[in-house]
Symmetry: D2
C-alpha cells in the first residue's frame, strides 16, 4: 500500500496532536513535511518523528511535490489563503475551524477547492466523539422519531486571556461555532433563525474587549425543530459538554466523560469525579478519529465527512448570533448569508 | 389546640387530593365544608371523610361562619371572584393556579385580599417538591455562587384533549406557568424579558385551536441571569421534569423521579425505569406539603410562602411569552404588566 | 363494607407506625383496641386515633370479641405465646419478626396457628419495598433466566446500644434475618447451606457481649444458586440496602433511595445526597404496604403472602450462620432444622 | 537518552499488544528482538514495526547481547523456565500471569531472579486500570478508614472453549487469579483464609473437564478485613468488572466502563450502553500503562510495582480456593504455601 504523504502547516498544540496521531496510529499515512513560522517548534516535532522536510515557510509544504495532502493548523487568518494555495497545488486539505470569520473569504476558498477538484475537510472534531456519534446514529436510525428539541450545553473550564478574546472574533465564532456545527450535525437540518441573549458574568475584561462570556442561543431549524445552546466561558467544575435531543419517539442524551467512575460515600455525601478537564482530554480520541477519517478519505478517494459547506455555515450561524445579540431581535441566517452554499464535496460524491 | 376549619370549593381531582391530605395527614386542620356544582362528587367525598356541610353552591362554604380558610379548586374562570368574596368574608384563601388569565382581574382579586387583610396562597405545588426544594436551598446557601444560567425541562406525557386546549389560555398560561414560577423561585430574581419560539409538532388539532405544543422560551432576569425553558405536550417516555442552575461557583441539577431504581442488564443493553407517570405521581408529596404549609401559616398566623404576587407575575410572564411568539421578537414583561406588583402578603410580614 | 377490626399489642415504634397506617390509609380496617405494658404510650395513641379500648394487658386485646385480627408488635420473647393465645381465640395474626429465636418455640406457635385455622403473617416488610418488589417481579418473569448469584448488601448506619446487643440473639438473628428472608424471597428457592465469617470492627463492646458487627455470609440454594450477604453494624454514610441478582439471561440490581436526586458540581467534585437515613425512612412505604396486604387478606379471606414458614426458616438460617461462625465451617440448614416446615398457610390456599 | 532494548517472547494477542504499545507510545524503549514458535506471526509483527531480529526460538531473544529486558508472553507452562534463563542472562523480566501453576516451580524462578539480581514484574495489568487505581489511592489516603469489607465482581462475557478449560488450571487459577491479586492490592494486606463455593451453571462441558464456571469466594485478610469475590464465566450482558471497598470511614466503589454514556428514553424504558465487551477493550489502557511502568523501572533502575511475590501469592490463594472447594471447608493459605514469600524485588528496593 502506498502511504499518503502528509504535510503539516502550523505546529502549535493541535498541529502537534495531529502529527503524533499520524505517526503513531495511522499506518496508511505519514507526515513528511512540516512548517511553522517558529521553526524551532517544527524542528522539535520533526526530530521526534524523523520528518525530513522542516521549514519556517508554509509554502515549502504546499509546493512539496511528494505531499498528497496538507493539514492547516496555523492561525485562523491564514486559513483561507493557504487553502487557496494548496488547492491550486492540487493538494487535499484538512483545515482547522473556522475557515475564516468572513463569509466572502470563506466562499473564495471554497471556490478554489471546487475549481481544483481537491478534498477539503474542516476540523469539527466533536463529530467524532463517541458520545455524539452514538446520538447521531440513533437519530439516523429513527430512535427519537422526528426531532423536536435540541439542547446543547457547552461550557469551558476557564476563559482565554483577554488578549486572545480581542482577536477571537467573539465567543460565538470562537467557541459556540463548535456547537453550531454540532446542532446541524445532530438535527440533520439547516438552522434558519438565531436568537441570542448574553452577558458578561465571568470577567469584565471580556466585556471591555467587546465580547460576552455567558449566553443562551435559540435556534430554529428548517425541519421545524427548535434548539437551544447555553455557553459559559467558565464552569468552575471543569469542561461541561452535554447534548440532548428530544423527538416524537423518544429522547437521547449524553453526559460528560470523567477520568474514572468511582463513587465515594462518606459522612458528607456521595462524591464522584469531575468531568475530564478540557478539550484535549475530552476530545483526544475524537481528534485522532477525524484525522484517520481524513487520511482514509484521501487514500481511498472518497468524500470527506465534514466539508467546506459545514465550515461556511457554522460561521454564518455565528454571524447571525452576533447580529441578533447586537440588534436584540431574532435574526434569520439568510440575513447574513444569502448565497447558495453548494457543497464543495459534491464533486467527490458523484 | 384549636383545629383550623377548612372549606373546599371544587371537588375535582385536585380538590379531592387536598381534602384527603388534610383528613389523613394534617391533624391541626379539618375540612368541615365542601361545595361543587356537581354536588354528587362533593357528597361522595363528604361521606368518606365525614364532612357535615355539603353544597352545590360555593357561597355556602364562603359564608359558613365556622370556616377559617377556603381552598379554591374550581375552574380558573371562577378563581378571582371567589377570592374576592372569600376575602370580604374574612376567610384565608388557598387558590389553585392560575388566579386568572387577565392581569386586571388578578389585580382586583389581590386588592381585595389586601383590603380585607386575609392570607392568599397560590398553588404552585412544585416549589414543595423535594428535588426543587433542595436546589432552592443550595442556591440560597450560595453553593452555586451568582446564578448565570437556568435550564428547565418540562414535558408532559400526553396532550390534553383539543376541547381543553381551546379554553386553556394556551400552553404558556396552562403548562409553562409552573415553569415561570419555578424560574422566579429558583433564581430569586424577577424575569424582565421573554423570547418564545414554538411550533405544533404533536397534534395538528392543537394548532387549529390556536395553540402550540412544543416550545423553547428564553428568559432574562433582573440580576443578569439567563434562563431557558423547553416544553413539549408529549414526551412518549413520560413526565419529564428536570432543572439545572449554573453559577459562578458551581452547578446543581435534579433529575426525574422513578417508581424504583433498578438497573437491568440483558443482552440488549442496560434498562431502567421510566420517570413517574404524571403530576399526580411525581408531585403527590408536594401537594401534601403545600397544603400543610398553608394550614400551618393560617394556624400560626404567619405569612404564606407563595403569595398573590407570585400568582400574578407567573401570568404576566406567560402573557409576555404569548406576545413574543406572536410578534416574533423578545418582549419585556413590563410591556404586559406595568403595575408595581406589591406583595399582598407584605401586610402579614410586617 | 364491614371494616376489619384490628387489635394492636405493643405500641412502641413499630406498633405506632402500623396504627397510623391503618387509621390514615386503610379505609377497610380500623384499630379498635390497643395494649401496652406501658399503658401511657398506648393511651396517647388511642387518644390520637379515637381508639376506645386501651389496656396495659395484651389479653384485653386478644379476648376482645369485636377484634378480628391482632398485630403483635411487642418484644420478641412474647411473640410465640401471644400467637398461641390469639390463635386459640380465633384471631388472625400479624407478628413482627422474628417469631422467636428458638425453632421449637416457633414450631409450637405455628402448630397452634394451623390447629385453629387462623392466618399468620410475619413482618418481613422489605418484601414490599418497591425496589425489591421490582426485582422479584423480574425474576418471576424470567428476565434474568436461571438465578446463579445473589448479592445482598445490608449495613446499618449505627450499632444498637450494647445493652440491646446482649439480648438481641446476635446480629444474624437480629439484623441479617431480614436478608435471609430476602434471599429466599428473591431466589425463590430454599437455602441449604450457610458459611459465615465475621468480626468485631465497629465497637469492641459488641464483641464483649459475644456478638459480631461485620460479616460476610455465603449461601447455597436448593436450585444451585449461590448467594452472599455482607453486613455491617455501622456504615458512616447511612443505611445501605442494595441487592443484585445475576442469572443465565441477565442481571438486575437496585440501589439505595435518597431524599432527593440532586447532583452538585463544584470545584471539588460531583456531590449527591446520601441514602435515606434508616429503616423508618427507607421502608416507610413498605411498612404501610405490608399492613394493607394483611388487612386485605383478612377482609377477603385469602392467604397472606409472608407465612409462618417464612418466619421459621429465616430463623433456621440465622442459627445455621451462628453455628458456622462458631464451628468455622459451612453448616447445612438441615443440621439446625430437620423438621418439614409445612406451610401454615397451606390450609388457606387450598 | 539511551533507549531500553526490549525482546518479546511470544507474539500472540498479548505479545502483540505490548509490542505495539512500546513502538507507538514509549519513546524511551524499543523492541529489537522477537520470537515465537510460530515464526510467521513474529515476522508479521517485525515487518510492521521494523524489528530486525526475528526468530522461532526464544533463546535468540534471551541471549541477544543488545537486549536489556524481555517480555515473556508465551504459554504459562514456559514462564518459569524462561524466567530462569533470562535471569541467568542478566535480563530484566516482565512475565504475564500466572508465573506457573506450581508453587515450587514459581519459587525456583523467583530464586533465580533474586540470585542474578534482575527485576521481575508480573502482568497484573488491572492494577493500572484508572478505576482501580483511583480506589487504591483513596484507600491509601485513608478515605475509607480501616478496610472492613471488600467486594469484587468479575464475570466474563463467555467461557473459553472446553479444550482450553482442560489445560487452564481451573477457573480460580485462570480467571480469579486476577481478582486475588486485586484483593491483595486494594486491601493492602495478605489473604489468610479462603472459602469457595462453586458450581457448573453455564456449560456442562466445563464440569466434565473438572472445572466450575460460577463461584463465590470468601476471603479473610491479615488485617481483619473480609472479602468476597463472585465469578461467572458468562455474563450475557458482557464483561462485568466492579469493585467496592467498605471501611470505618466510608465506602468507595467503581462500576464498569461503557463505550459511551448515552441514555435513551423511549416508551419502553430508559436504555444505556452495555459495558465494554472484554478485557482487550476494558483494559487496553491498563496494558499500556503497565508496560510503560516496566520500561521506566528498567530505564531508571528502580523497583517494579508488581513483583514476584505478587505472582506467587495470587497462585497460592488460587490453590487454597481449589482445595476449599474440593474439601468443602475453609482453607488457610498457609496450608498450601508455608514458605516465607520474600519479595524478590527487595534487593532493588534497598
Amino acid at each position: 500500500m502506498k502511504k499518503t504523504k502528509i504535510g503539516v502547516i502550523g505546529t502549535g498544540r493541535i498541529g502537534k496532536v495531529h502529527t503524533e496521531t499520524i505517526a503513531e496510529s495511522i499506518p496508511e499515512a505519514e507526515v513528511i513535511a512540516i512548517a511553522d513560522i517558529n521553526i524551532s517548534t517544527a524542528q522539535k516535532l520533526a526530530d521526534r518523528f524523523l520528518i525530513r522536510s522542516v521549514s519556517g515557510n508554509y509554502r515549502d509544504v504546499i509546493t512539496n511535490p511528494e505531499v498528497d495532502a496538507v493539514l492547516i493548523c496555523s492561525p485562523t487568518n491564514t486559513h483561507a489563503q493557504y487553502i487557496i494555495e494548496a488547492a491550486k497545488a492540487g493538494k487535499h486539505i484538512f483545515c482547522e475551524k473556522p475557515i475564516d470569520l468572513d463569509l466572502d473569504t470563506i466562499q473564495n476558498a471554497l471556490d478554489a477547492v471546487e475549481e481544483y477538484g481537491v478534498k477539503l475537510m474542516v476540523g469539527f472534531n466533536r463529530r467524532y466523539d463517541s458520545n455524539f456519534k452514538k446520538i447521531k446514529q440513533m437519530v439516523i436510525e429513527g430512535k427519537i422519531g422526528e426531532p423536536h428539541i435540541l439542547k446543547i450545553t457547552s461550557r469551558d473550564p476557564a476563559p482565554p486571556p483577554p488578549d486572545y478574546i480581542a482577536v477571537s472574533g467573539g465567543m460565538f465564532l470562537d467557541m459556540t461555532i463548535h456547537d453550531f456545527d454540532m446542532a446541524r450535525f445532530i438535527v440533520g437540518s439547516e438552522v434558519t433563525e438565531v436568537f441570542a441573549v448574553a452577558g458578561v458574568r465571568i470577567d469584565e475584561r471580556i466585556g471591555l474587549a467587546g465580547d460576552v462570556d455567558t449566553a443562551v442561543i435559540t435556534l430554529k431549524f428548517e425541519n421545524g425543530a427548535l434548539g437551544v445552546i447555553d455557553n459559559s466561558r467558565q464552569a468552575v467544575y471543569g469542561y461541561d459538554q452535554r447534548l440532548e435531543i428530544f423527538g416524537s419517539e423518544g429522547m437521547v442524551k449524553v453526559d460528560n466523560n470523567a477520568p474514572d467512575n468511582h463513587d465515594y460515600y462518606s459522612r458528607d455525601g456521595v462524591h464522584s469525579s469531575l468531568p475530564l478537564n478540557f478539550f484535549m482530554d475530552r476530545y483526544i480520541e475524537a481528534y485522532a478519529s477525524e484525522i484517520k477519517e481524513f487520511c482514509r478519505a484521501v487514500a481511498e478517494d472518497r468524500p470527506v465527512s465534514v466539508g467546506g459547506k459545514d465550515g461556511l455555515l457554522s460561521v454564518a450561524i455565528g454571524l447571525a448570533a452576533k447580529k441578533s445579540l447586537a440588534a436584540k431581535r431574532p435574526v434569520k441566517v439568510s440575513e447574513v448569508f444569502n448565497g447558495t452554499s453548494h457543497d464543495v464535496n459534491a464533486a467527490h460524491r458523484g
